[in-house]
């Protein structure tokens, strides 16, 4: 029993560190995405319709929240995945051939 507890603390699969970090990044992007979406939509859209500003023909709230938001977050996701997500092997046998080494 004690052995197992000890083992669990020492030898978590090292790939999980990367997986956990990327899950947190995903949550981070989602929160930023929500704030952008909500902020522009209700920040600019809550006044009377006849006081709206327009960008490229669309009401400003809609343009910034939905159109620009889509473009900005698609590009952000591409940048983050390209530079912060790591390539790791997924196979179960991974432990056997890289014992002692770090993930490539």
């Amino acid at each position: 029993m004690k052995d197992n507890v000890k083992r669990e603390q020492i030898s978590d699969d090292p790939r999980y560190k990367i997986a956990n970090r990327e899950a947190l990044i995903g949550i981070g992007i989602a929160i930023a995405n929500f704030l952008w979406w909500f902020g522009f939509a209700y920040g600019f859209g809550s006044k009377d319709v006849d006081k709206y500003h327009y960008v490229f023909g669309f009401p400003a709230w809609f343009f910034y929240s939905c159109i620009l938001g889509f473009i900005v977050f698609t590009i952000l996701v591409i940048i983050i995945v390209k530079f912060f997500y790591k390539d790791i092997p997924l196979d179960a046998e991974y432990e056997d051939d890289t014992k002692g080494g770090s993930p490539k």
Binding site: E8, N20, N33, S46, V49, F58, V81
Partner: protein, 488 residues
């Protein structure tokens, strides 16, 4: 009937059929039948993974119900629809690598395989398999009904004949080709959706005389059509934001989506899938609902809002192009149903039959049964779709939110929280489903939110407290499971 449109659609169905035949070669050659048939041998590349997730997710409502609601409510519904952008990156970031690695450690083929090893409890397995089969049945039938109505109202093909033709093609390619056929057809169907929706939005902007013109047309009809609150000001920020859970982050809990997160070849495929998927989901959802809003100015008198997009296509485009654009909703329906069909049949065969009925069945038996069960489910759904029983319609209302409330925590917490155990998982599944059905039936919008939000919160609490209260009792089992799932 419009023959040019129908010929294009028939060519399209023939192509899907051929893909099934082509994929069945892999199934026959494969040494590991269930792995190939239900998971495509874990060989999906990035583009195919992105498209199959996107196409499975995009359904009849993306092409019919969504644009119809946008036609009714205006730009507010586009805002609501854009909550789906998050699914593109969130699902794979959360499940992604962890689920793929763990699934390989235990050689899981289905979502329930994972739950079975992670929680080691027969009731978790049986309850999950039942939830999956019941809810997915309802979901499939509803999609199928949507497809039949589309062919009837827009193309003039009698309801049952339309249903029969496209249902037959769909069932055949799914049955003979398995996951690989579904993934390849999904990819083609995803591309068709992207092309079809682009053509349609451009045509709509031109027909409406430019964006400025369309916006002033909307304002002169009802200024609220361009506000974020909807034409009748009924869409509150709290309600619209709830869709972040229902069609956004909650999608993590949908079995037909989650199973795709263990089907890819390498982390590289996953990375490109996140990038392509985010673009595809965001683009199609934005453009389709926006077209629905534009249609209000171009065709102010649509009586059945769900038919807005198909009618717009018929009004604006030459017939051969209508065929391509209308292949979009058909593709959305077929890709959803085929994926769901396979998940339902894998649940019956792998999760119930192989676990509890006959664990020592030979590979040949499993193969015959897989073809048989998939066909039978397809045929039953077809007959149900001819005259959908009211129970089915009732169940379909709960399918998406119910599945999410049931599975999101057993999956996510199972991956990230070592203390989570079978008591937590069972309480979470039961609480999620019951809360969702009760809130939907009795208090439609608690605190102004969609019922899914509160159900997901309750099922989270059930999971955490259920696991913590029984922590001591499960100490020995916990260390076994942790060793199996977490150690290198």
């Amino acid at each position: 009937m419009n023959w040019e449109v129908i010929i294009i659609l028939i060519l399209y169905l023939i192509a899907m059929f051929l893909i099934g035949v082509f994929s069945s070669k892999w199934v026959r050659k494969s040494s590991d039948f269930t792995n190939e048939y239900f998971l495509g041998g874990r060989q999906l590349g990035g583009f195919v993974l992105a498209m199959t997730m996107f196409a499975t997710y995009a359904s009849a409502s993306s092409f019919l119900g969504g644009p119809g609601a946008a036609y009714t409510f205006g730009l507010a519904w586009v805002l609501l629809s854009m909550t789906q952008l998050v699914t593109g990156y969130f699902t794979l970031s959360i499940l992604g690598k962890k689920f793929a690695i763990m699934a390989r450690k235990i050689n899981a083929v289905t979502l329930v395989d994972f739950l079975k090893e992670r929680y080691r409890n027969k009731w978790v397995v049986i309850l999950s398999a039942i939830c999956i089969v019941v809810f997915l049945f309802a979901l499939m039938a509803a999609q199928w009904v949507g497809g039949g109505h589309l062919m009837e109202s827009v193309m003039g093909i009698p309801y049952v004949s339309g249903l029969f033709v496209f249902g037959m093609v769909l069932v055949i390619y799914t049955v003979i080709g398995g996951f690989r056929a579904v993934a390849i057809t999904d990819t083609i169907q995803g591309v068709i959706m992207l092309i079809g929706s682009s053509i349609l939005v451009v045509a709509a902007v031109i027909a409406g005389g430019g964006i400025n013109n369309i916006m002033s047309g909307l304002i002169s009809e009802n200024p609220n059509l361009v506000s974020p609150f909807g034409s009748d000001q009924s869409l509150s920020p709290a309600y619209v934001s709830s869709y972040w859970v229902l069609v956004g982050v909650g999608v993590v809990g949908l079995p037909q989506i989650a199973v795709r997160a263990i089907s890819y070849r390498s982390s590289k495929s996953m990375h490109s899938a996140i990038m392509i998927g985010t673009f595809a989901v965001g683009f199609v959802m934005l453009v389709l609902t926006l077209t629905g809003v534009f249609a209000r100015v171009i065709m102010p008198e649509v009586s059945v809002a769900d038919n807005t997009l198909p009618l717009l296509a018929l009004e604006l485009l030459p017939p051969w192009l209508v065929g391509i654009v209308l292949a979009g909703p058909l593709a959305a329906i077929m890709s959803t149903v085929s994926s769901v069909l396979l998940v339902a049949s894998s649940s019956i065969i792998k999760d119930i039959y192989l676990n509890y009925v006959k664990p020592d069945a030979t590979s040949k038996t499993v193969q015959r049964l897989s073809y048989g069960v998939t066909t039978i489910i397809g045929v039953i759904v077809f007959f149900m779709a001819i005259k959908p029983p009211s129970l089915l319609i009732w169940l379909n209302l709960f399918a998406m939110g119910g599945l999410e409330a049931a599975f999101i925590w057993p999956i996510v917490m199972g991956l990230y929280w070592k203390t989570g155990n079978s008591v937590g998982a069972l309480s979470s599944i039961l609480t999620g489903v019951i809360a969702f059905i009760c809130f939907n039936t009795f208090i439609s919008n608690p605190f102004g939110l969609h019922p899914v939000v509160i159900s997901v919160i309750l099922s989270f609490l059930a999971y955490v407290f259920g696991s913590l209260f029984t922590k001591k009792r499960f100490a020995a089992q916990r260390s076994e499971i942790v060793t199996k799932f977490w150690s290198a």
